[in-house]
């Protein structure tokens, strides 16, 4: 065995296994000449050398157009519900601290996050339909050609796709990758795949700055940016930290099937309820801290009315110089800081700081001039790239069995976030955008 590497042995074993399967099928199955199945027909097109990747991009664009456009009326319904609840509860509370907490913390803070339940559930529904139809494994196969050419491993694409839901199970799924180097690369780039928690930020900013007509396309471009950066960083890691050839990729493609509504809804719920659980725990807890810091010192802020005198404003102003070259104010600095705990908190923080109802949040961002389309796009890119949530960092430490790799991931993501956002702002200004 001296002449074989581990990778060669794996590919020889896979080849022999498939040869054995083909031999058995030849003796056991009688297949009429020229008989095609729907799976043959669809694979002929979806796995096509030239059409495969454009079709993949088209279907993924459809996922985001579906997510944004169809969620809008449901978001309005939740806004109406929270507006009504705010009126009912706000009027009946005499204690000023409690009234401020209910209005600012619960309805403006947590409410502004819960409004984004519909797009998150819509995204998971669309991904479930693609998964149940058997297309997602084809997408991995199609991307493998491109990824292998770039020196990456095709199997890496499956955890990357899972990352669209949540980076935590996606990083855990890298255990299925045989080569240690391939696995490390996949873990390190996975946070660049935009998880569902980042979607509320995109929906808020893109909806406010680019209008309903173009928001889906802008959000799609942010997702594409994440995929492109993941591929570029993987390539850099392959050429520097983890040199060598990727191990062979063997993937069993299931037959296509028509997804059932019941299965798609069950899968959507299984993924979406994680968001609800986060809303009730870490998001609620963080929003509570943000509300406290924005309403205190109680006397100086006039019961949370003069936010410029609050603790959070002092914190924001001390961080603002780091972000002012991007055109972001102290509120963005604070939102990004608390977003380290969970990305949805970025939206909740704006809800508390601006003190407006969920429906008016986007309008306020525009009317107060907090973002232009250029600075807003750069902000979305920053949210995409900079440190994922603390839970993801914890999983990176656990899966790599090293806090050093987790610290490395945090460091390179922060540097990359500043670099990419800076490039967006720089190039945008050169092109004449404000």
């Amino acid at each position: 065995m001296g002449g074989f590497s581990k990778d060669d042995a794996a590919s020889i074993l896979a080849e022999r296994r498939y040869q054995a399967i083909a031999d058995i099928l030849e003796t056991a199955v009688t297949k009429s000449e020229g008989k095609w199945t729907y799976t043959d027909i669809l694979d002929h097109v979806f796995l096509h050398r030239w059409l495969g990747i454009p079709i993949f991009l088209s279907l993924f664009w459809a996922v985001f157009a579906f997510t944004f456009s169809l969620a809008e009326p449901f978001m309005v319904m939740i806004e109406i519900l929270f507006g009504w609840l705010g009126g009912v509860f706000g009027a009946g509370i005499s204690n000023p601290h409690l009234a401020s907490f209910v209005a600012g913390g619960i309805f403006d803070g947590l409410g502004s996050v819960l409004v984004f339940v519909p797009p998150i559930f819509m995204l998971f529904l669309a991904l479930s339909i693609l998964e149940d139809s058997g297309y997602l494994s084809r997408a991995a196969f199609v991307m493998d050609r491109l990824m292998y050419r770039l020196g990456l491993h095709g199997r890496s694409f499956i955890p990357m796709m899972m990352g669209f839901g949540c980076n935590i199970p996606a990083i855990m799924a890298t255990r299925s990758i045989d080569g240690e180097k391939d696995r490390m690369i996949t873990i390190l780039v996975n946070p660049l795949i935009s998880c569902g928690a980042r979607l509320p930020v995109y929906v808020l900013i893109a909806g406010a700055l680019f209008g309903a007509e173009h928001a889906g396309t802008v959000i799609f471009s942010i997702y594409l940016l994440g995929i492109a950066l993941a591929i570029i960083m993987a390539l850099i890691f392959r050429r520097t930290l983890f040199r060598g050839e990727p191990s062979p990729f063997v993937l069993e493609l299931p037959a296509y099937s028509v997804p059932t509504a019941k299965a798609a809804i069950v899968h959507m719920w299984a993924r979406g309820r994680l968001f609800l659980a986060r809303a009730g725990t870490i998001i609620f807890g963080t929003v509570l801290v943000v509300w406290f810091l924005s309403a205190h010192p109680w006397g100086a802020t006039g019961g949370g009315e003069l936010i410029e005198n609050s603790y959070i404003a002092s914190l924001g102003h001390s961080l603002q110089p780091i972000f002012s070259p991007f055109g972001w104010d102290w509120m963005a600095a604070v939102a990004l800081l608390f977003g380290l705990l969970a990305k949805e908190v970025v939206v909740g923080t704006y809800g508390i700081l601006l003190g407006v109802e969920e429906g008016a949040l986007g309008e306020s961002l525009v009317s107060l001039g907090l973002f232009t389309p250029l600075t807003g796009f750069a902000f979305m890119a920053f949210v995409l790239i900079y440190v994922p949530c603390v839970a993801t960092i914890g999983v990176i430490a656990r899966e790599t069995n090293s806090y050093r790799w987790a610290a490395f991931a945090m460091a390179y993501l922060v540097v990359l976030a500043f670099l990419v956002s800076g490039l967006i702002i720089g190039i945008g200004r050169l092109l004449g955008f404000s």
Binding site: E33, G34, W36, T37, Y38, T39, D40, I41, L42, H44, V45, F46, H48, W50, L51, P54, I55, L57, S58, L59, W61, A62, A65, F66, S69, L70, E72, P73, V76, M77, I80, E213, T217, F220, A255, Y256, S257
Partner: protein, 139 residues
């Protein structure tokens, strides 16, 4: 080898190439910024139409020869047409819901429908014919 008659293949190929040419033309107009109220400017929407057109046109040669090899691209094109036709119909439904919630000024009119919806409607006779050709096919 022929999988269905040349005559059937010719009809399917002509219809598919018609859909392909229309999709390509509309897609390019969408990419280049649109044409009045009829065709909106939409970069990614236009890209999707060009992909759809390419899928139809890839299958024309094989379908003319009566081969499943060509028919598969026609089916792929029909699948994409259906996905995006239904998607834009759902979007119109969402716009209608927004009107009922008081968030839109008027109910969406069918004359405002995206070209992808009209292409989807145009593709239905072809889909019906292809369905009858592949009725005995299994998954």
């Amino acid at each position: 080898m022929m999988d269905f008659s040349i005559k059937t293949g010719k009809r399917l190929a002509i219809y598919a190439s018609g859909l392909g040419v229309i999709s390509l033309a509309v897609g390019l107009v969408e990419i280049l910024g649109g044409w009045g109220e009829v065709i909106p400017g939409d970069l990614f929407g236009g890209f999707v139409l060009v992909v759809m057109a390419a899928t139809y046109l890839f299958g024309v040669k094989g379908t003319l020869r009566g081969q499943h090899d060509g028919l598969s691209f026609v089916i792929g094109g029909l699948f994409l047409t259906a996905v995006f036709g239904v998607l834009y119909l759902l979007m119109m439904g969402a716009d209608g819901l927004m009107y009922l919630l008081g968030e839109a000024e008027a109910l969406p009119k069918f004359s405002d429908a995206r070209p992808e919806i009209w292409i989807f409607i145009l593709s239905l006779p072809l889909a019906q014919r292809v369905r009858s050709l592949t009725a005995r096919m299994t998954w």
